[in-house]
């Protein structure tokens, strides 16, 4: 009889997130990997395979950058694969690590996510101009913030959401980041600060946005057999999910992220979760913009459509609320080295479920957590469900 294999997270590592770090991409990948291995009490020798997550080559300025990063990620003379789903990559990379181990081909897998955005001059935003369709979008000067402002505006319009409600997310996350040792933009700010900040692309203002960053993160995954040998408290990957919507984003109603729901349903089914708000104790949805945390809470089925702003106003999503959302400080507070930021969220859930999150620890002994990332042309969802 065929038996499915369980996969555990047994170690995690993270570098500082900063606008410019001196380390090269390779060096960052090494630092995060080394910390993850050390925390699991393992060395590179114990690792059977490596998966890498990193966003567009245009940032690092290296074609096939996965190849260039391989030795930094500990993959020298090992089976090594890079997976890539735009901004969704950071949560997708551990999903890829999961199937390496769950397939039975490997007992241990090092999952590494790296981003060195500062290499792109004059500004990393410029690299994003090549994510657009060259016939329909590039000629009219499309840029990344435009399309997210377009999505945000639609979401606000359909549900009648006020900017004040959305700003609360930025206030909460930057505040949470005060307790994160790697954070780039921790701050105590008010809703007024957000509303008074420079308008970049209406309705997006300066403080609605996460920064560009350098940084890396890593996880060590192990089969059930190995996990039980090396740790007393493994955290299990009980569900993985991913989903993609159509390329033609101007043909979709952007008020709701169906792609996230598609990914969440896959992960919840695998994890046997029937009532997400009740069964999930802590969540790290992707928050490169403040409205995205709300949007993604809805896509993750943590609340009804249009209900996330209300829950936020009521304090439900605070660290000590009923459903803590982004206790790490998220991308808004900790920073956004794209793939590394996604994996940082998975690291956070791992630490939360082990009770090792220090000052950021959510109360009530959380047992089930979910992390999610978002990518492509407002099109991709990747989700992971962890349980202690």
């Amino acid at each position: 009889m065929f038996a499915k294999r369980r996969v555990a997270v047994v170690g995690a590592g993270l570098t500082l997130f900063r606008r410019n770090l001196k380390e090269t991409g390779r060096e960052l990948a090494f630092e995060a990997s080394k910390m993850a291995l050390d925390s699991a009490g393992l060395t590179r020798k114990d690792i059977d395979c490596v998966t890498l997550g990193t966003a567009p080559d245009a940032f690092d300025g290296i074609h096939m950058k996965g190849e260039n990063l391989s030795d930094g990620a500990g993959a020298y003379r090992k089976p090594y694969t890079r997976v890539f789903v735009g901004g969704g990559t950071g949560v997708f990379a551990p999903n890829a690590g999961w199937w390496h181990v769950a397939s039975g081909l490997f007992d241990t897998c090092l999952v590494v996510a790296e981003e060195k955005m500062s290499s792109c001059f004059p500004h990393p935003q410029y690299a994003f101009t090549t994510i657009f369709d060259p016939i329909m979008s590039r000629p009219i000067g499309m840029n990344l913030v435009w399309i997210f402002a377009i999505e945000m505006h639609r979401y606000m319009h359909v549900h009648g959401i006020k900017k004040e409600q959305i700003a609360l997310v930025s206030v909460k996350n930057k505040g949470n980041a005060m307790d994160h040792p790697c954070a780039q933009l921790p701050a105590k700010i008010t809703v007024e600060d957000v509303l008074n900040s420079e308008t970049l692309v209406h309705p997006v203002q300066r403080l609605d946005i996460s920064p560009t960053s350098d940084g890396a993160a890593a996880l060590v995954l192990a089969s059930e057999k190995v996990a039980k040998e090396i740790t007393d408290d493994p955290v299990w990957i009980d569900g993985v999910g991913w989903g993609i919507d159509s390329t033609y984003w101007t043909n979709r109603d952007l008020y709701y992220p169906k792609y996230v729901e598609c990914a969440a349903r896959m992960a919840y089914k695998m994890a046997g979760i029937k009532n997400p708000p009740k069964e999930i104790d802590v969540a790290e949805p992707y928050d490169p913009f403040d409205y995205k945390e709300l949007h993604h809470m809805e896509g993750l089925l943590l609340c009804k459509k249009g209900e996330a702003p209300k829950l936020t106003e009521e304090g439900v999503t605070q660290r000590d609320g009923d459903l803590p959302i982004n206790p790490s400080g998220g991308l808004l507070g900790v920073g956004n080295p794209i793939a590394a930021a996604g994996l940082m969220k998975v690291c956070e859930i791992f630490w939360q479920l082990r009770g090792e999150a220090g000052k950021r620890q959510v109360p009530g002994d959380p047992r089930t957590g979910v992390a999610q990332a978002w990518g492509d042309l407002m099109q991709y969802g990747s989700v992971i469900v962890l349980r202690s």
Partner: protein, 389 residues
């Protein structure tokens, strides 16, 4: 007990030097439609996962998978990119099915190389920006370095390399999918313009456009979909050092290690006896010889001699690249390995027509990710399941 995995469908547009009339989306739609028809599946409900194998700079996009789901039937379904050759995608599909969570996976890879205007500059853009790029020059000098060292260490002759070219280009003449079939001689190769000594123009695989899609399924559903499942018996992949400075230039270490893994997974102890034919990386003529040895299909230093004696011809003792290889079919960027797997599937199904290798039961496909990488993958396919042998 482990699940078994089979290839149950394939689709290919055929490879051509250019395809100006069709967009990359349209060639992908064609190959996918053919593959789903061949497998008898509807991608909108029957395929659990879609994998696209692509690198951004080959496409001219950042985040290429944005532009993929529609033409593969993957809208609001599961799709992702493996930024590697299609053979890595096949290995990924194999793993996904073995987890027990998925029964069917489609793997896509394509080349629209004719859309690229600055190919050599893009290859150079893959070099390390601090150590190697400032040296300048056409990056294929790296192949010259490797070839020279390989010939020096093994004593293989320059002529043996030329033999590979003549054989593969000729094999391609009986392959309707091939873009670069030709009747050329060993002398033609040797007399062609010397570009990166000892490498000459005809030693280099010419680029081609094309798209391939394979459909893989678990043993649970494979039998329902096809009478001729081709079983994936083993997969392996590996990356040697990315540094040019510390490479073992005479060998293909990634191929050696990938093969070792694939043979282990497949339970193959004696590759020379158990592999009936192989499609191996021949991006540059000498690579076929070097890879033949790395795959343990002959002893080190023996590949050149075997080739000159005709052992690797289609009717030889170990047929290599009966499709025409990358030299004959064309170098299709990240589709190169999938093109090789596709040929092995056709051969093992007995559907290879004029180029059919008789009585083939087990075949091997191998690919290298090209300059400047040291990464490669191997897949072992068979028309007999593990249970049947």
């Amino acid at each position: 007990m482990l699940r078994e995995v089979a290839v149950v469908g394939l689709g290919c547009t055929g490879c051509r030097p250019t395809t100006p009339g069709l967009s990359y989306k349209e060639i992908m739609f064609e190959a996918a439609t053919r593959a789903f028809e061949d497998a008898g599946v509807d991608p909108r409900c029957d395929i659990d996962n879609f994998i696209t194998c692509a690198e951004d700079y080959w496409e001219g996009f950042s985040i290429f998978d944005e532009f993929v789901p529609d033409q593969l039937g993957a809208v609001l379904r599961q799709l992702f990119t493996v930024t590697a050759d299609g053979l890595f995608g096949l290995a990924t599909a194999y793993m996904l099915i073995r987890t027990g969570e998925f029964d069917t996976v489609a793997v896509e890879a394509h080349s629209k190389a004719s859309d690229i205007l600055t190919f050599a500059d893009i290859v150079a853009f893959a070099l390390d920006p601090i150590f190697n790029r400032p040296l300048g020059g056409h990056p294929f000098y790296i192949a010259g370095l490797e070839m020279n060292r390989y010939l020096h260490e093994t004593g293989a002759s320059r002529e043996a390399c030329a033999h590979v070219v003549a054989k593969n280009r000729k094999n391609a003449l009986s392959n309707a999918y091939a873009a670069h079939g030709a009747n050329i001689t060993v002398e033609d190769v040797l007399e062609s313009e010397q570009l990166f000594y000892p490498l000459s123009r005809l030693d280099i695989s010419p680029l081609a456009d094309g798209c391939m899609v394979l459909v893989l399924a678990s043993d649970k559903v494979a039998g329902k979909l096809t009478d001729t499942p081709i079983w994936v018996r083993g997969v392996g992949w590996n990356s040697d050092t990315p540094w040019l400075e510390t490479r073992d230039w005479g060998r293909s270490v990634d191929t050696e290690l990938a093969a070792k893994m694939a043979y282990k997974v497949a339970g193959i102890r004696n590759p020379q006896k158990e592999i009936d034919l192989a499609e191996i990386d021949d991006r540059f003529s000498y690579k076929e010889l070097q890879n033949l040895e790395a795959l343990q299909l002959c002893r080190r230093g023996e590949a050149g001699k075997l080739t000159e004696e005709g052992a690797t011809e289609r009717d030889g003792s170990i047929p290599i690249n009966p499709s025409g290889g990358l030299l004959g079919v064309g170098y299709t960027l990240e589709a190169s390995g999938l093109q090789k797997a596709l040929e092995i599937v056709l051969q093992l199904r007995g559907e290879a027509g004029k180029r059919q290798v008789p009585d083939a039961e087990t075949g091997l496909a191998q690919v290298w990710r090209g300059i400047p990488t040291a990464s490669g993958a191997v897949a072992i396919l068979s028309n007999r399941s593990r249970g049947a042998t």
